[in-house]
Symmetry: C2
Subunit: 122 residues, 2 copies
């Protein structure tokens, strides 16, 4: 799984299919919302402990790959200040079938929130 | 839910957030694969019975909306000849949270395959 941590606004890279056996592409955008815990925000500031973030993403991807046989995954997480309405996270998963692609994507984000050292500060 | 049935190649419309409370955007691309039931294809031909396809999409969306409170959904299905490697289906779901967005997207496609009169011919 490719992991990109960037201070720039996220743009989705062009979709480049690795084989003619890809039948499903799932893309997820996590967007900063105005309301969080009842407070009105103008944005969030994200910080990462990058070496451990990359290690944890690799570990999670390897674990999920055993359950869900996908072909390729990409995670882009924006760091620094992200205004309301802009994405802080982009995930793309390519697989032969949609079931594994959707499950991989959902569980990746669930596990990321638990294990990957990326913090948000309002 | 907006439903677009088109003979043109699918392109994702620009993402236009309806509110500052959208935290999740799930996008799904269903792509024609080379191998189907052991046969090597160059593409698939899709046909729809359009009035009923639109009715069934509306019915499914209304049903899923009760389970998963999403903000907006869009389905684009390509009809006619779709070459291997090109998308025949695009789904975009916007919601406050990722759980409902991912579930809505996955179940929408499951139910579509069962109930919406769109056929593929190799």
């Amino acid at each position: 799984m490719e992991v990109i941590l960037t201070n720039e606004a996220i743009t989705a890279p062009p979709l480049d299919l690795p084989s003619r056996e890809i039948g499903a592409c799932v893309e997820f955008w996590g967007i900063v919302r105005e309301q969080e815990d009842g407070r009105a925000l103008t944005g969030l500031h994200y910080e990462a402990y990058e070496p451990m973030a990359r290690r944890e993403f690799s570990r999670i991807a390897a674990e999920l790959q055993k359950k869900y046989p996908i072909s390729q995954a990409l995670v882009i997480h924006r760091l620094g200040w992200v205004p309301v309405g802009e994405p802080s996270l982009f995930v793309r998963v390519l697989a032969k079938n949609r079931g594994p692609a959707l499950s991989f994507c959902g569980e990746l984000i669930d596990l990321m929130k638990v294990a990957v050292p990326i913090w948000k500060l309002a």
